[in-house]
């Protein structure tokens, strides 16, 4: 149990370790970082056997049990699939990066972020508690932000990082809302236990909100239309990041969330219909966009969005066959897309460009890489005997047998897949064939790891294709519990001649034809730019811009840095609140009898107060005004003394003394009033001050007439000695009952002292200001 907790936290601890090593030590042993994903991969592989036999592992550690937030991890086949993907692709990416980013001055930082991301992702897919799931979800967004903006000297990188963070962060908030709502409705925060209240997810007055929130979370994370635009921007990240986060793992977190909650929503037709529609739009839109891209990573980004769309679409069909197809497709896509990304990375590394129109004929120098590219492209296109073929088979099987309108669904799937064949060939084959353009110059042979790593992934695509039983026994065997009561189809490379084979053939033929007929060019790419005005991206950016301008306006108006303005705003607002209250609901009684009972000492204090106030207002010297304020403060203390609040009196007395000293210190050296503020301002301030005082007094009189609710007071008075062994209730509240508040208050005091010290002792030289 504790071992598992350690495994989840290992990546975070490991990142600290890397941090401790420092850039210099790390540079000499970059291989060291790869130990983490490899050992985690081996650890999770050890679960494969029992989980294939239907076991589920639970690891529970109480964390904040009073709020139902627990370190509750659950490893079932879906979670295992993802953990193996994360650690497996992670191992390859970690090793690949040692060469790809060799000699980068901030390589250590890169691995630190990558490790944090891996830990967060592992936590995300194994969490059984919706709140910890949310925490890990946010951690993936944050580490993704740092990785996208890794080249932080480029403004475009930073901008992409911010866009990605704001979109995925929005989804994170939605996930929190979903988690809290679902937790409150079902009475449990454990995802597995939520299954026991299916009616909440099927038909309840709040079900619609649950749907909205989960969709918002999943669609932003998994780049579904209209939130897809952050993903192409995220390609600003170094290629290993795009491989790992933005195609193989993080973007699939949304898919994971949908799959995880499919059993909960299985009786909710809105859930499936929405997924079907959004997935269909996304896959068609993104696949269509690949026609107009010339940057290899741009093509891959849109084909990734298309693939994510296919997954959502498949879940949306909502049959057991389609869910199996979605899960197999996750594996298929991770293998071929990661491979293609790494191929692209190596091409970029060796040839110095990713522009498809400038690349060609690389097979002579990069022979092994071209083989990896070819296999990956074939798997992407669904050519037999790669695993992509099986994936495509399953997709057609799902569309033909499920849903409302099989013809429409199948047509959409075929269209998307033809474009995916095209995209795969474009990235995996086009750069290697034809004649090498002269501009490319001499290309050096890459380091062994730079072609071997994509090769491993491509080889796996082939291996799983030849032996589909491996995928089945590993991943889809026990996945059926996602939808109760239906058996999952068996995976095989050959089902005999049928409609599905025909569709596959059409897809491949269509894709190849498109590849030879359609040549991507910059002219075509720029022809699409005029539509950008209406793209979700530019709309979102316009909204962000508007929001920013509104914030500037508000800040300039309310936070202009003049203390007098702040005081004015606060007083005017409070005056309005009190004033409206007094006028709307006047309940002020003053009994004359009580006034008559004034003591002589009270009368003296009141007189002193009045005199000091008048003196303060009309004096012409700063110091005497402060002295007047001091006298006023002391007379207040006297009132506290007479009315039995000695603690308050003592504190107020010391504070007043200190305040006066402070004012004197600051103002002592200033010249006398050079000029008073003008007459209008003084009249205005006078009116505001007087009305504020008057309404405050009215409100206090009203409060005095209310019968106070004594329960809190009585509780403290009764329990101060019993629970906290103190007789001074005020102090007991400060150090015991509300001790945590005091703790934070003294921290704030400390911060303010440091602030004053730093501001005044900071002797900046002129050029630093």
């Amino acid at each position: 149990m504790t071992v598992f907790l350690f495994v989840i936290l290992a990546s975070f601890l490991f990142s600290l370790l890397l941090f401790g090593m420092g850039q210099k030590v790390f540079k000499r042993m970059t291989w060291f970082a790869s130990l983490l994903p490899i050992s985690l991969f081996l650890y999770f592989s050890s679960f494969a056997k029992p989980i294939m036999n239907g076991e589920v592992f639970n690891f529970f550690t109480a964390w904040v049990p009073s709020m139902s937030i627990n370190l509750d991890f659950r490893l079932d086949n879906l979670a295992l699939l993802f953990t193996l993907l994360i650690t497996g692709v992670g191992s390859i990416v970690f090793l690949y990066t040692t060469q790809y980013m060799k000699g980068h001055p901030k390589l250590m930082r890169f691995y630190v972020f990558l490790s944090i991301f891996m830990g967060a992702m592992l936590g995300l897919v194994t969490s059984n508690n919706i709140i910890t799931l949310f925490i890990f979800w946010e951690l993936t967004s944050i580490s993704s932000f740092f990785l996208i903006g890794f080249n932080n000297t480029e403004s475009s990188s930073r901008k992409s990082a911010i866009i990605a963070l704001s979109i995925t962060g929005l989804g994170g908030l939605a996930l929190l809302a979903f988690g809290v709502l679902a937790g409150q409705l079902t009475g449990t925060y454990s995802i597995a236990e939520m299954l026991q209240s299916p009616e909440i997810f099927a038909n309840h007055e709040y079900t619609v909100y649950l749907l909205i929130f989960i969709f918002l979370a999943a669609f932003t994370k998994s780049a579904q239309f209209p939130f897809h635009f952050w993903l192409p921007g995220a390609m600003k990240a170094p290629t290993p990041v795009s491989t790992y986060l933005h195609s193989a793992t993080m973007v699939k977190a949304g898919i994971y969330l949908l799959l995880r909650f499919t059993p909960h929503f299985q009786n909710n037709s809105y859930f499936f219909t929405t997924l079907l529609i959004v997935g269909a739009i996304t896959m068609l839109y993104a696949a269509f966009q690949t026609l107009f891209k010339t940057d290899l990573k741009g093509i891959l980004a849109y084909s990734t969005i298309g693939a994510l769309g296919i997954m959502v679409f498949l879940i949306g069909i909502g049959t057991s066959a389609s869910i199996t197809a979605a899960i197999v497709f996750i594996v298929v896509h991770a293998l071929y897309k990661a491979s293609l990304f790494l191929v692209t990375g190596t091409i970029d590394h060796q040839a110095g460009t990713r522009d498809i129109t400038k690349l060609g004929g690389l097979r002579k120098v990069l022979m092994p890489l071209s083989i990896a590219g070819l296999i990956a492209a074939f798997s992407s296109g669904g050519f037999p005997p790669t695993v992509g073929f099986i994936g495509k088979d399953l997709i057609y099987e799902a569309t033909l047998n499920g849903g409302l309108n099989p013809t429409v669904l199948t047509t959409m799937a075929v269209l998307t897949n033809i474009l995916m064949v095209f995209a795969g060939l474009l990235v995996g084959v086009k750069p290697f064939t034809g004649k090498q353009p002269v501009e490319l110059g001499r290309i050096k042979k890459p380091h062994f790891l730079l072609w071997f790593m994509p090769m491993i992934l491509a080889a796996l695509s082939l291996l799983f294709g030849l032996f589909p039983a491996m995928v089945e026994s590993l991943f889809t065997h026990n996945i059926t519990p996602l939808l109760t009561g239906e058996a999952s189809p068996h995976l095989a490379i050959w089902h005999g001649f049928n409609l599905i084979i025909l569709l596959s053939a059409i897809t491949i033929a269509g894709g190849i034809a498109l590849y030879f007929l359609w040549k991507p060019s910059h002219k075509k790419e720029s022809s699409m730019i005029k539509f950008n005005v209406w793209s979700p991206k530019s709309l979102a950016l316009k909204f962000a811009d508007l929001f920013q301008r509104l914030s500037y306006f508000l800040t300039r108006t309310f936070q202009n840095g003049y203390l007098r303005r702040y005081v004015l705003i606060i007083l005017v607002l409070l005056t309005l609140v009190f004033g409206v209250h007094v006028f709307v609901n006047p309940r002020i009684f003053l009994s004359v009898k009580e006034i008559k009972e004034l003591n002589w000492n009270e009368i003296v204090i009141l007189a002193m107060m009045l005199v000091s106030v008048i003196f303060t207002v009309f004096t012409k010297s700063r110091l005497s005004a402060i002295a007047g304020m001091g006298v006023l403060g002391y007379t207040m203390c006297l009132i506290f003394v007479f009315y039995g609040a000695p603690d308050l009196a003592m504190t107020q007395f010391s504070i007043d003394t200190l305040t006066v000293i402070l004012f004197v210190l600051v103002l002592y050296r200033l010249p006398k009033y050079l000029k008073l503020s003008n007459r209008t301002n003084r009249v205005r301030d006078g009116i505001i001050a007087t009305s504020f005082g008057t309404f405050l007094a009215f409100t206090i009189i009203e409060i005095m007439n209310e019968t106070p609710i004594k329960s809190t007071t009585e509780y403290y008075a009764e329990n101060a000695y019993i629970l906290a062994k103190g007789k001074n209730v005020v102090n007991v509240i400060l150090v015991d009952f509300r001790g945590f508040d005091t703790m934070i208050e003294i921290s704030v005091l400390a911060i303010s002292a440091i602030g004053v010290f730093a501001l005044l002792k900071l002797h900046l030289k002129k050029h630093e200001k």
Partner: protein
């Protein structure tokens, strides 16, 4: 301020006021007082001394920069809050109390140490702010 009387008096008053502030701190759990007020009184004592004798004199007397009292105080307070977790396994900030009464002080518990932390933070904060400002203007 060059007043001989104030100078002389402040030197006698300083130990007395600090003693009084400690007294206020310790009685806080049973009678009016506590770490916050105690800390303020101690701060006032030092400031009075600084007014009469000049800031350099007071700083010499303090030996360390008053700012150092802040982390000391915060540490004491945090330790007293963590003590129940470490010592008895109770939740954060559970009051721990000695069995027997100590003469004069009464029962000693984690709350007293917490209050001492508050005392040090308040002295540190007040003196840091006021010293810094009076040095800078």
């Amino acid at each position: 301020m060059k007043s001989l009387i104030l100078k002389t008096v402040s030197k006698t008053l300083l130990p007395l006021l600090i003693l009084f502030s400690v007294f206020v701190l310790l009685r806080g759990h049973y009678l009016p007082g506590g770490g916050f007020v105690g800390g303020l009184i101690a701060a006032v004592a030092f400031i009075l001394h600084a007014f009469a004798n000049g800031l350099p004199e007071t700083k010499k007397l303090l030996r360390i920069h008053p700012g150092f009292l802040i982390p000391i105080g915060l540490t004491i307070a945090i330790l007293s809050a963590l003590a129940p977790i470490i010592l008895t396994g109770d939740p954060l900030m559970t009051g721990l109390w000695q069995e027997q009464d100590v003469p004069v002080l009464g029962k000693i518990g984690s709350a007293l140490f917490f209050d001492m932390g508050v005392y040090f933070v308040v002295v540190g904060v007040c003196l840091t702010i006021i010293f810094t400002i009076s040095e800078s203007v």
